[in-house]
């Protein structure tokens, strides 16, 4: 208990330091490389998804290849409530997205968490791809591959962002998304250090042993599945206004793959892992896409290099004794 929380990758101080850094970096990057600062916004939004995904992967031991489904539920809730209810109050839309994800994940989770390993992974993938098919085929509802255009939202119940210029909106939305990120990340920190969180870790390490302690592991796995789905849905909902359009590719399996990528890149055994992974991933993806159309190749090399050189991800690298010694010499406040 004591040892784990002292690790940099599992400390709340690391989250605070990183949040301040993201807040401060935004205008600096905007000044140095105009247009690049939005990478940070995408980063913090996807970090929420990665955090949720990793509650299931890193803490419960269930690897999902279908969490894009919940990202899609989040994004399409924004699109559909706008299109059919003319709703632009973002918090209300996010609330509806959370309820939708709750219902959908409870239903699917009830079936899929009975399975482990590859059976779990494939079953959830099939469900996610079915939902993707729905977005594509039911074009009279979803707009098919043309998607749904997203108007600027009203945030905090009163602030209409419609009149804002491009850069102003991006900046306001950055800090709005950052606030959501801090809230969600803090709640996740509470969850993983709670008895509930430790019970998930027991299931990850030895499910049969957890059962001998009288734990109904099915209920806990289902709860973890639902919570992780809610996180991913919130992320998808926040993603939509920034992306200005929701299309079926937001629910495509490659989005699930990104969450796996982010968790492994950052280090799925660490609380900070998926957060750092998401930020770095978005950065690399943008850079790689700017360099070549074959950017998949660069990302492929990156993930292989991570797995070979540091299987515990970037946070694993950071927690090495030599790195810690350097940090203590620098007297950095983390």
């Amino acid at each position: 208990m004591v040892a784990a929380s002292r690790e940099l990758g599992n400390s709340l101080r690391a989250l605070i330091a990183l949040s301040i850094l993201i807040a401060v970096l935004y205008p600096i990057i905007g000044w140095l490389r105009p247009g690049f600062e939005v990478i940070l916004t995408y980063g913090v939004i996807l970090a929420i998804a990665a955090l949720g995904f990793n509650l299931l992967f890193g803490y419960t031991g269930l690897l999902s290849f279908g969490h894009a489904a919940f990202f899609g539920v989040g994004a399409y809730t924004i699109g559909l409530t706008l299109k059919y209810l003319n709703l632009r109050a973002l918090e209300a839309q996010i609330f509806i997205a959370v309820v939708a994800a709750l219902l959908f994940s409870a239903l699917t989770g009830f079936i899929v968490v009975r399975y482990r390993g590859i059976f779990f992974a494939i079953l959830i993938l099939v469900i996610a791809q079915t939902l993707w098919g729905f977005y594509v085929k039911f074009y009279h509802i979803t707009g098919g591959t043309d998607g749904i255009r997203i108007l600027r939202p009203v945030i905090l119940g009163f602030y209409d962002t419609r009149g804002l210029g491009y850069d102003d909106f991006n900046m306001i939305y950055h800090y709005y998304a950052l606030a959501w990120f801090i809230l969600m990340a803090y709640l996740m920190w509470r969850i993983i250090n709670s008895p509930f969180g430790y019970t998930l870790k027991m299931i990850r390490d030895a499910e049969d042993r957890a059962q001998t302690l009288g734990i109904d592991t099915f209920k806990f796995k289902l709860a973890a599945f639902i919570i992780s789905a809610l996180y991913v849905a919130v992320s998808g909902a926040l993603y939509a206004p920034l992306n200005r359009i929701v299309t079926p590719d937001l629910a495509y399996w490659t989005v699930s793959g990104k969450m796996v990528f982010m968790s492994i890149l950052g280090g799925f055994t660490y609380y900070m892992g998926p957060i750092v992974g998401a930020l770095i991933y978005v950065y690399f993806e943008t850079v790689a896409q700017a360099i070549t159309v074959h950017w998949f190749l660069i990302m492929g090399v990156l993930i292989i290099a991570t797995m070979v050189l540091t299987p515990t991800g970037l946070m694993g690298l950071v927690d090495r004794p030599s790195f810690k010694k350097t940090l203590s010499l620098l007297k950095l406040p983390i």
């Binding site: 208990m1 040892a3 709670s194 008895p195 430790y198 019970t199 870790k201 059962q211 001998t212």
Partner: protein
């Protein structure tokens, strides 16, 4: 006069043609310590699996603490006070020793569903986990993960996790298997001290005759699914047929 904690009668479990447990009956007094010995395949582990609820018997009854638990699920049996450990160390490898013990205690206290209070902040849990660590001699390695401690300590941790449930009956499947000769008596001393402290009755499956002779006052000998001897080790283990079964023809 203490009551009967366990009454097993006519217990039977066949796996296809294999009679793993074939009409086993015995009783145990409260607080009693019972060793089960027998050659490989005698049905010792199957018997433990049946009593702990891992598998259901084909026939027979198990009375525990005055109630029939024959058809009770694994989780319900933990609830009434039956707990076990495994032959192979089965602990939570990703957690530290203290975390292993704390979450086991928290499981018994049924606080697992709390999502927002930190596990560390449960004073009662922490105190009990530290007491268990003290009794099991794990105080020095609290911050270590199971992969970083000795095999003997892992065994002790495994058993301490079981005892965190405060069971009335503890079943230990070969507590000294895989432990070095040097460590095995140390492990047994610790285990029995802790069991005594908790006032639990115990069934211990053991292969090591040195351990059995040193620590038992009642031994059950199993062979081909049946009990072929039950009594004090000095009487039972000196019998000709028991010696032949346990040690093989050459040593009898």
């Amino acid at each position: 006069m203490l009551g009967k904690i366990l009454q097993v009668s006519g217990l039977r479990k066949y796996f296809g043609g294999v009679k793993a447990v074939d009409g086993v009956s015995f009783t145990m007094d409260e607080g009693e310590r019972l060793f089960i010995v027998g050659p490989n395949g005698a049905g010792k582990t199957t018997l433990v699996n049946l009593i702990s609820g891992y598998i259901m018997p084909d026939s027979g009854t198990i009375m525990f603490d005055g109630r029939d638990v024959t058809r009770l699920s694994l989780a319900s049996r933990v609830g009434v006070g039956i707990a076990r450990s495994f032959q192979l160390v089965n602990v939570f490898w990703g957690l530290t020793v203290l975390e292993n013990l704390s979450i086991a205690v928290a499981s018994r206290l049924k606080v697992n569903t709390n999502m927002f209070k930190s596990l560390e902040s449960y004073k009662a849990v922490l105190e009990e986990a530290l007491e268990l660590a003290e009794l099991s001699g794990l105080t020095e390695v609290l911050d270590k993960r199971p992969s970083e401690i000795s095999q003997g300590d892992r065994k002790l941790l495994d058993i301490a996790i079981t005892l965190a449930l405060k069971p009335k009956l503890v079943m230990l499947d070969e507590p000294t298997s895989g432990v070095s000769t040097r460590e095995k008596f140390e492990v047994m001393d610790r285990v029995l001290k802790t069991l005594h402290r908790f006032g639990a009755s115990s069934i211990i499956v053991e292969h090591d005759m040195e351990v059995v002779k040193k620590y038992s006052n009642r031994v059950l000998v199993m062979h081909e699914g049946k009990i072929i001897g039950d009594g004090a080790p000095s009487d039972i283990l000196s019998k000709e047929d028991v010696r032949r079964i346990l040690l093989g023809e050459a040593y009898a």
